[in-house]
Chain length 193, copies 2
DNA sequence: CAAGAAACTGACCTATGAGTCAATCATCCG
DNA sequence: CGGATGATTGACTCATAGGTCAGTTTCTTG
């Protein structure tokens, strides 16, 4: 088998370093200098492998989304009933290793960036839409076609709001509590119809 | 009566210009240069009246919060029943002239700023806490002392999430629809107990 | 009116951060 | 071996943005 080209190795190492910086500093403060330092190299090298900071951020976000997508697929497809699928999706959003202040802050920094208009929109849309449309799909058998959309919309907004709070107040909201709030909301929505 | 000192007049004019820039550009892009230009003066003058950009932003946020606080007081105190008070609080959050993409983006930029650690924390806490604790107070007679907190927490998070969505997707969510979603959530929470 | 205080300005300084580039250094292949 | 290709670097430019400052104008007041 052919040895992996150095360029690929480097690109991956740099992406990893960038991810680390991104998670601790957010999208704005993820400077090329810091990424270089974290990777133990120079800014020039970073720009040698990624044409611009945007390209690097792109790669980082793509990686994160890919991983999340895979995990979602794995843990949701395993469920049989629609209700279990919704539950699994919610549980996924609040897994303790994901629902951390660092992740939340990083996520918020991306949202803010794209709300401000600086590129990167696709990712937010991707996350938000996928979350909502997944929920909507799982909810349809439970609440009917007409009610699925508003219920999913509300639940997705609640989840976003809880993430936002997590970003700003690292101690006031545990993963368990956040998950409980989301599940209660779901419960109530289902009971109400 | 004494004429108003020029310094006060200027400070207010500059605060007004700063508010305009803040609402259209967000906290980060509210540069001293732009504020000066908007006010029709020079950067030096801005810094003559406000010791730093942070001081200026401080003033802007303080003004906004004061106005919002006054409006809240006025429109909520007028209500008699607890349920009406909650409704009024929700209506206030989604008033069409407030729940605009511009406001939402500006608000998001502040949240992101303080999540990132750059000063200004007090304001987020102020907004978030006041909203939640107001809701909690109005809800206590409706759902009891033990349930008031989680219900308020959930509703506040939902409202935050809807604002967030408003910031990112200017067309997908009208004020009416957002308000309806929040009211439905409240309805369901009350019905469920 | 004159002098001091306040308003006001623009030139300057500094820091940060993205991106460029020519010059090295390593490696691989003919 | 020896050139070509690619990796790597650090010094450079450019732009932004906050903040400083000395000097000028304008106002106020004795």
């Amino acid at each position: 088998m052919p040895l992996r080209p150095i360029s690929d190795v480097r690109r991956e190492e740099l992406a990893l370093a960038a991810l680390e910086v991104f998670l601790t500093s957010g999208a704005d403060r993820m400077t090329l200098e810091r990424v270089a330092k974290t990777a133990g190299t120079s800014k020039g090298t970073v720009l040698h492998y990624y044409l611009s900071k945007e390209a690097l951020l792109d790669r980082v976000l793509r990686d994160v989304l890919r991983v999340l997508g895979r995990e979602a697929q794995a843990s949701i497809v395993a469920q049989t009933t629609a209700r279990e699928k919704v539950n699994a999706q919610i549980a996924l959003c609040f897994r303790p290793e994901l629902f951390t202040p660092e992740y939340a802050r990083a996520w918020l920094s991306v949202i803010a960036k794209c709300a401000a208009g600086n590129g990167v929109d696709r990712y937010r849309r991707l996350i938000a839409r996928r979350l909502r449309s997944n929920l909507q799909a799982y909810l349809r058998p439970l609440v009917g076609a007409t009610e699925a959309r508003p219920v999913a919309e509300s639940l997705a907004a609640l989840i976003d709001g809880l993430w936002l709070r997590r970003a700003v107040d690292p101690v006031g909201l545990t993963p368990d509590r956040a998950k409980a709030l989301a599940l209660t909301h779901l419960e109530e929505s289902l009971a109400f119809l």
